[in-house]
Amino acid sequence: MVSFRLPNVLNAVIKAHLDEFVRPAKPKNGVGAFVFPCRKLVFNYCERSGSSRAMLEYLQTRAVQFARDNPQIEVIVQPRPSRHPIVRAFYTNGQQRTKCVRRCTVDEIPEVVKSLRDHSGHRLRRWNKYVLSDTPSVRGIYSPFHTSEVHVISDQKPRN
C-alpha cells in the first residue's frame, strides 16, 4: 500500500515568492554610497513674453556652466509658449518640485536652482520626534548625565 504526504503547498509558494513578502530595506542614502537625489531639472521659458526675460538671460549665460558642474543631473531646456518661466525638479524618490521664476532677477534664479538641486525630494513635514532610531526603546536614548556610575581611569586599585 503506497502512502504519501501532501506537500505543504502554501509554505512552498511563500518561499518561492519570499522576495515579495519581505519588505525591502529602506534605502539609507550616504551609508555605503551616496546617490544624488535630484535627477532632472527642466527649465521652461517663453520666447516672447516679458516675464521670461531674466530666465532667458540666465539660460544664455549661466545655465551651461551649471549643467557642466552637475553632470549627475539631467538638464532640459524647453520652450513653453505663453506661460511664465518655471524650473521643475525631479527627484529619485519620485517627487517633483516646481518654482515659478517670473518675478526673479537674473541673480536670483541661480539661488532658486541651487535650492531645488540641493533638496532631498521628500515632502516638507513636521518632525515630532527629536530622535529617529532603527532600534527604538521605551527607555529612550543613552544619556551620560543620568547614570549612577562614574567611570574613572586611574592607576589605583579599584576598591570593591
Binding site: R23, G32, A33, V64, I73, E74, I76, V77, P79, T92
Partner: protein
Amino acid sequence: MMLGARALAIAGRAQVRGAATEAAERQAVGRSTYAALESRLNLQFGDRGLMERVCTHRSAAGSGEASNERLQWVGKRVLNLQVGEHLERTYPNMTVEMLQDVQHGSFGLSSLAEVGRHFGMQPALRWRSTVKEEPGVGATKVLGKAVQALVGAIYKDRGPAAARDFVRRHILSRPVDTETVLQIKNPRVLLAQLMQRKGMERPVARILKETGRFTSSPVFIVGVFSGVKMVGMGFGSSLRMAEHRAAKDALIKYYAKEIKDLPPASDQDAAEEAELSFFEAKDRERAQA
C-alpha cells in the same frame, strides 16, 4: 568625461510643440538621461551606449537593438556570488537553507528593484508590459533585472574589482531584516531541538515583568533561560504569546548572529604594523630578537 553640455538638450530648436502632451514631454528619455545616470552612480563606462543597453529590456528591444539580457545573465551571477560570500561570512550560525532564504528574500528582484528606484533608474527603463491593458504589470521584475544587468555591465566594462566595490557599497550596505526573512513558525520546537543539539540545559520560561494580568490589556515580559543564562526575551498580551516571542527571539539571536567585518588591512597597514612597537627603548631589542 561626461560634460554637462552634452546633457543640455535644447529640445525646442526644431520642432513645435503640437499634440504631444506635457506629461509625455516631461517623461521623455534621451541620451542625457543615461549620461546623468552614469554620473550619479560614479561610473564612467568606456562604451557610450552601455547604460542605455542596461536599461533596455528585451520586450522593448527592436530587431537590431541590443537588450540587457546577456548583461543580466552575467550580472545576476556576479551579484549572487558577492552576496553569497558576504552572507556566508557574516552569519556563521545560519543553516544553508536560511542563507538561501536571506539571499532570496533580501537580495532578490524586489529588493534590487528598490535599489534601482533609489538610483532613479525607473524612469530610464525601456520596456513594454506583456499585458496591454495594464502597462504597469511587471515593472518591479524588469527593474530588478535592470539592476542585475547594471552589475553585469560594470563587471564586463570595468572589471571584477569594480563590480565587487559597486555591490558592496550600494547593495550590501543595506540592513537585512533577518526576522522577517527567516520565517520561524514553530520557535518552541526549534529552540528545544537546538539546545539539545548544543548540549545546553533545557529551556525554561520565567516571567520577568508583568502588568494588568486580570484586565483587558495585560502585558507580560517573559524570558527563556538555559540554566541561569537568559537566551531570549519576549513580550505579549498572554503568557503563551510572550513565550512564543521569547523563543523566537532566542532563535533569531542565535542564527542571525552577525560577524561585523573589520576593514581589510591594506599593504600600508601591514608595513606600519611591522614598524610600530609599544615597548620602550630598553626592551625593544629584546622584543625584536
